[in-house]
Amino acid sequence: MTTHLLVATTLDEALAAMANGARPIAGGTDLVVGARVGKAPLPTELVAIDRLDELDIVGMVPGGSDDPTPLLFVGAMVSHATIMNHPLLAASYSGLADASALVGSPSTRNVGTIGGNVMNASPAMDTGAPLLAMGAMAVLQSVSGSRTVPLAELWTGPGTTSAGPDELCVAILIPRRMGEEGSAYVRLEYRRAMEIAVVGAGAAVTLNDDGTVAKAAVALTAVGPTILALTGLEELLIGTPLDDLSLSAVAMLASEQASPISDLRASDKYRRHTVGVMAKRALEAAGRRAAGETIAIPVNRAEGIGAARNAAAQNGAAK
């Protein structure tokens, strides 16, 4: 049970508290809910970071000396609600907006943050796959300094990260999306709110002028101990159009590389099959966005089975 709660007013104060053993709390959507269902008791010492306005910022920052590409800075305190409604993110980092728009319910999205989602390190987290596909990094800061860690190196297993106990995730950095880049996140869900991904896939695509693939990345949700980056895509996709043939090949690749478990939500067999379907759909949507098409956020509600009921009702039944 928590005996001390420090409400930090500056980042230094928060980092000092963490150096002394406090755990950070922002929206509390994982920490508090987890404690209430008996997953893990609340830490004895907590430091609330929800009033640190400097962590609630979205903007571009210059790249480093080794790679001068500008980066998108998403402060750790930025909520899912902000992400899904942010014009820049929705337009150019659509996969992340797709993911944030699917998290929990409106109230979860209002208090749940990107920093919390990333650091909770659930293999079923929604923002993980699109962030990994976009090559995102986490900025970890402690009283002794700051470092930037690619997400692939941050997540070490279900609920575990390579961050030290005194390190606070202060931001997520995403390389600026250049040219005709598009991204998307699609998940398998049994219902449309208060849901967790059964499986999911995030994709980021850059197209050549002729519409063939110049660059592509896909990451998979809930089919391994961490979010899983798909390997071997280049051989399949570079220089080819995103058509039924190449998309089916990616679906097979995703099914092959997945290492899902069986649990209450799905069997390993079903997960292995459906993650391929999700990979194909995410890549297809990312490709269309890269080609300049607008697909509403989130893809799950804009397309196919998830499309709005009004559109369906208009073409027949409710007359």
Partner: protein
Amino acid sequence: MTTTEIPRFVRADGPDKVTGSGRYTADLTLTGMLAAKFKYSGISHGRITRLDVTAAREMAGVLAVLTDADVPDVHYDPQIKDRTLFARDIVRFEGEIVAAVAALTPEIAEAAVAAIIVEYEELTPILDPEAAMDKSSPLVHEDWESYEAGSWLVRSGNTASFSSLERGDVDAGLAEADQIISSRYVADGSHAAPIEPRAVVAQWEGNKVTIWTSTQVPFDARAGVCETLQLPTNRVRVIVPHLGGGFGGKCGFHFEAHVAALARTAGRPVRLVFSREEEFTIPDRRREGIVVELTTGVRKDGSITARKANVVIDCGAYIADTAFFPQLAAMHAVGPYLVPNLMVESQIVYTNHQPSGSVRAPTAPQVCWALESHIDEVAKAINMDPVKFRLKNAVDTGMVGPLGQTYEEIGLRRCIQQATEAAGYGQELPENEAIGVAIGWWPSFASASGSYVKLDDDGAGQIITGAQECGTGAVMTLRQLAADELGMKPEDFEIIYQDTATGPYDMGATGSQTLLNNGRAVVEASQQIAEQLRELAADRLEAAPADIVLADGKAQVAGSPESAVPLSKLAAIAGSGKLLLGHGSGSPPVAPPIVGANCVGDQGMASWVGPQFSCHAVRLRLDPETGVTRVISVHADHDSGTIINPMGAHGQVEGAIIMGIGQALTEGTRYDETGKQMNTSLLEYKLQTAADSPSIHTQFVEVFTENAGPHGAKGLAEAPNIATAAAVANGLAKLIGSPMRQLPMTAERVWDTISEGGS
């Protein structure tokens, strides 16, 4: 009636609930109140070899620890007395209460529960109800024969209750058929899942106890306390604060006696509040798993020649209120169809699962799902459109039904015609979309029920009733009935309810019966006051009482509205003389006789008062690559007699349909191999959310029924929960090419069925 024409219905309890000013049981705090926790068996089947509560009793802050040794030696349950408050010798499901603790805080109570030592000789769990029927099966209740039980029950070993329905000659009927179709369907158990986990608070004053509890049936809860703690009814008062939903799951007597016993021993008030996990696993009100086997003989012209069926219901460890389920399930295996020859055998069988109990339309959604899936198979076998098949075979006004009940005017065929027409049935649909259609029926339950109505000297009204509001709006609608009789407005009445010490008996929020029975009582009580008001007005207006009309808050002479006196004035006169007090109860309507059928284990479920009928047409879309199904729209037509409160009625249908979609697609109890439930949280037990709700179009086929409730009303709370899952199944079967054999029809099961070669 379309949505725009529905008059505004202002619920008396609405503002309290919406603003948060209303109080639920778990909100109550009494001076010196303790927290209760239970020690559960945690195993599905075992013999207690050691039970030691010494350490728990000695813990600081623990004021009471009770076991079977500390309460009267009483077996209870309404139809078969197979249960004790605390486990005695044998534990029969994972949620069996072995001991109860009351302590200063929930944390201390939890630590005390952990300090209770129980050792078991583990016994093999009996989990498959079909296997449990075998004579060689071990028994869930070794002593079943010694239990006191209703003489009408047919019992044998693990078969807790058996019923059959028989008419004509089923073998001869099958011999006449051109085609015989046989199917087997398996429905998993599910849950009522009310938003409020249950809570109980008990406080003794002298030798009397007051119990605040989240029950749908306060009088049943009182009866259970009186039976198990051996108290007369007038020393037990049960009060229900606002109830946070029930859906049947809060019917019956549950933990009121445990908490009252703790409070008596501790000498302090005690409060029990369930966690969500406890709400899923402990109460004896799981919706039953059912296996249904159906065989139908049909002629090429579409007429049914015979039906043979076998229904096996998973009772779980104790009978609770389920002894009548076999006969009710058997009726649903027949359905509202003309079937000249039938033989249905139906049984509820003990297992080591959590006990089943009445959840909204018990047995009906599952068996209707099986029967209506089967009916579509039968129609397909003779190349007949399934809607045409239903119109040909459905019961109708003046007909003799399959069990020999002759129907007054009923609206089933109109329901089928209207729902399918409104849904656009038969039109071309986009790829991967289909419309499934199913019909259902359900009784109205007649019961004793009472109410008082009074007008005080300022003319303000009160309805003092034993009826229980579980969210349906039925009790709220009582105001409208009283207002109509007295020429007043619903808002002129306050309702005093949910307190066994003030209201007369009512069966509770169960069996869709509140408006049907308590409505009659309120009308009768109001009529007595109306009579008095007419007499008072007649004196003042120099007219005959028969010529006085009560309207707009006044008593006036018929035909001369200028000759009138306000009711408040009459109430003031009565206030210093003969008071305006009415009391109503009335005789419950009686079901018509059954003719020409034979019912073994008959429990009065083969002939129905105020039979209700429905047709649901569900339009859905399937994602064939994943098996995910999305319901787009539901057209629901219902004959529930006269609709008293249209807005309340529409709300009932909409809620029931969303619940039905959950049963169809995402809800279902999952067990491990030892019989313990695995999905005991709202993340893993997937209720439908508002975001999943389809567009719902409800129409009522209002048929006046003499033999029913006030103004010809039938029940309504359960009927709309029956046909939805079946209609979803029939839509899916069209898209997959073969029926789904297991409920819920989860995405993975649909995908499996598609992968196995459905076209």
